[in-house]
């Protein structure tokens, strides 16, 4: 009887999650007239460089997010408990701004005549080409997605029992040793969910590259958008690319989950 209360939701998920994914697969393997074809998947192969580039950009920005967020979350988790809430609020506040606006802000900062170059001009250097570069795209990704790394990291670190660390230090571990031997291993679930939550949106974004990347930085997301609502209407090819993207992400997730052996109940998603 109780189980039945989930029936409406499961039905909902079947119609609006599972069926649509099958429709993506259906479009990916058919042509405009609905006949079976492998053409879309083969054509997707032509865009291998874009896939490689998107994976590389997403991987680099995920790594930078981890490197920046890890010390930050650690500092946060070792603060006085009464300050932690306020500090977390301050750090997460920008995330609540619409990400289009935040990305747009970087556009105005990085331009040839933007604020950064103007400031550099005052002290007599520059201007540098900052906007429309690979670096700008990665910066945009890091900026937009770093909160998704900080939150899970902080959540697991705050839960680590401080007495374990004290015990280790009493037994002669230095601070660095205790971080490597205790904090890092215990924070792996946070690292895993942080990586997932940054990597997936970063690999599939179609705005950041458009706004900050200039001419040579089309990513998979842009390619998909172009086929559906952009300049080269071809939903079958778009579905083909989306299908391959989904497979890639499934593989990445499977690899990540191999590392993460912890019980699924303890995973931190948010």
């Amino acid at each position: 009887m109780k189980k039945l209360t989930s029936a409406p939701y499961l039905l909902w998920m079947a119609i609006f999650v599972v069926v649509p994914l099958f429709m993506v697969a259906y479009f990916a393997f058919t042509d405009q007239s609905g006949a079976f074809t492998l053409e879309n998947i083969i054509k997707t192969g032509q865009y291998t460089p874009i896939f490689v580039k998107s994976i590389a950009f997403a991987a680099i920005s995920t790594a930078i997010c981890l490197l920046l967020a890890y010390p930050l979350s650690y500092i946060l988790s070792t603060m006085k408990v009464s300050y932690q809430g306020t500090m977390l609020l301050i750090i997460m506040l920008p995330m609540w701004m619409n990400f289009l606006l935040r990305t747009y802000a970087w556009q105005t900062l990085l331009g040839n005549n933007g604020i950064i170059n103007n400031l550099l001009g005052v002290i007599g250097i520059g201007p540098f080409k900052l906007l429309n570069t690979n670096g700008a795209v990665i910066l945009g990704m890091v900026y937009d997605y770093i909160p998704f790394m900080i939150l899970p990291l902080y959540t697991v670190m705050a839960k680590i029992d401080k007495s374990i660390i004290e015990a280790a230090e009493d037994l002669g571990c230095s601070r660095i040793q205790s971080i490597i031997k205790i904090t890092v291993p215990l924070s792996i679930p946070g690292i895993i969910s942080g990586i997932t939550m940054v990597f997936v949106p970063a690999i599939s974004t179609f705005i950041i590259s458009k706004m900050l990347g200039g001419s040579s930085n089309l990513l998979i997301g842009d390619l998909i958008e172009m086929q559906f609502l952009g300049n080269s209407y071809n939903p079958n090819l778009g579905a083909g690319i989306a299908f391959v993207l989904m497979i890639i992400i499934l593989i990445v997730m499977a690899v990540i989950n191999l590392i993460d052996k912890s019980d699924s109940d303890d995973k931190v998603l948010m």
Binding site: Q46, Y47, P49, I50, G111, N112, N113, K129, L131, N132, G214, S215, S216, L218, L223, M226, Q227, F228, L229, G230, N231, S232, Y233, N234, P235
Partner: protein, 374 residues
């Protein structure tokens, strides 16, 4: 903490006061010349009209201009859902993909043919649009609508090069400047296939309507060759980037160049002597429209001379409405950009016509590959 909240509420009050004080600074529109009886036919029927237009392509009430949509709503009691698109191809994709229910669209010539060929436009009942007589005969019976059945000209114009006078002092250049290494990373390019191909085709001496595979591939190679020099592929982002001197030169539509040059003295505009594209953007009613009377009324409203004037002043494009043209200031008529002499228009411009399906598909694929290539 209380202080901060107090500060913000003070701020909020400031803003709302400012809002009240100057909220109605739009130009008042004189509707006395309009047939109010005609416009009030649907006033209490709760009709909604879905209008899709190019970005920056109507007088929207900013900076003291007439808010055309608001005036239309006020006059007719019809609610307008106004959305914008950036390119013809984007509009096409939305119509094909989005189960679109537009009542009014404003595509360009070649896209009108394409939409018509695919059965997506409906014939217009010109009996419902008395102002159609305001359209200059020059803009009737055009190739994309030889019998004037399904389109009403909105604006026309040409394509040229907007340049930054501080960076380029000599205005004696043509399309080749977009391939000049000197401006590497300092030039912008069209972000839509048809306009981009047209520039390469002009340089290669091809027709802008070539459907020959070898020619299209040659044009694509030309665009690939240009790619390393291009700072960004843009549409209306051109406004911001050129105004802020982010780039030295960009190809764009003449009307927008006029608007930009009005506000920015450091910008100039060149229409290359080797020739250019002449385009006409016309208002159409898609098959999906269920509010044909309201749509016709909207078209009629846009053809009112005063509305045409407000739009022309705001967007800078060239009007096909002869009564609006009469109302224009002489310096607009003679700015050397908007209304070119017939000799140039007849001999050095080419309008787009729709490409055969194969060529159209090829161009679209080549474009994706140019944009996605290294």
């Amino acid at each position: 903490m209380k202080k901060i909240i107090a500060l913000f509420s003070a701020f909020a009050v400031c803003v709302s006061l400012a809002g009240c004080g100057t909220g109605t600074n739009e130009a008042a529109l004189d509707v006395s010349g309009m047939d109010t009886e005609y416009y009030s036919q649907l006033s209490d029927k709760g009709v909604e009209l879905n209008v899709a237009n190019w970005g920056e392509y109507i007088s929207d009430g900013s900076e003291g201009s007439v808010d055309v949509i608001a005036e239309f709503e006020k006059l007719t009691g019809i609610k307008v859902n106004y959305t914008t698109y950036a390119t013809n191809e984007e509009l096409y994709a939305k119509m094909r993909a989005g189960a679109a229910d537009y009542d009014i669209i404003i595509p360009s010539d070649y896209m009108i043919s394409k939409l018509h060929n695919e059965g997506m436009l409906q014939d217009i009942d010109f009996g419902k649009i008395p102002n159609y007589e305001n359209i200059d005969d020059k803009y009737k019976n055009l190739e994309f609508d030889p019998e004037n059945k399904y389109s009403v000209p909105y604006f026309w114009g040409t394509v040229g090069l907007i340049y930054d006078k501080n960076q380029i002092t000599d205005d004696n250049f043509g399309w080749e400047i977009l391939w000049d290494e000197k401006y590497a990373d300092n030039l912008l390019m069209f972000d839509n296939p048809r306009d981009a191909f047209a520039i390469a085709q002009n340089i290669l001496g091809q027709s802008l309507n070539s459907s020959d595979e070898a020619e299209l591939r040659a044009a694509a190679d030309k665009l690939r060759e240009q790619k390393p020099l291009v700072q960004a592929y843009v549409m209306d982002e051109v406004f911001d980037k050129m105004a802020a001197s982010e780039a030295a030169v960009a190809p764009y539509y003449a009307g927008d160049a006029v608007t930009l040059m009005d506000e920015n003295e450091h910008l100039g505009f060149v229409i290359p002597k080797s020739g250019t594209n002449l385009f006409v953007d016309s208002i159409c009613i898609p098959k999906t429209s269920k509010n044909i009377d309201a749509a016709s009324m909207f078209i009629n409203f846009l053809l009112e001379p005063e509305i045409g004037l407000a739009n022309t002043d705001a967007v800078g494009y060239s009007t096909p409405n002869k009564n609006t043209f009469e109302l224009l200031d002489d310096d607009v008529k003679n700015n050397g950009i908007s209304y070119l002499d017939d000799d140039f228009l007849n001999n050095h411009t080419e309008a787009f016509s729709v490409l055969p399906d194969e060529a159209d598909k090829l161009m679209s694929e080549l474009w994706t590959s140019i944009r996605s290539g290294e």
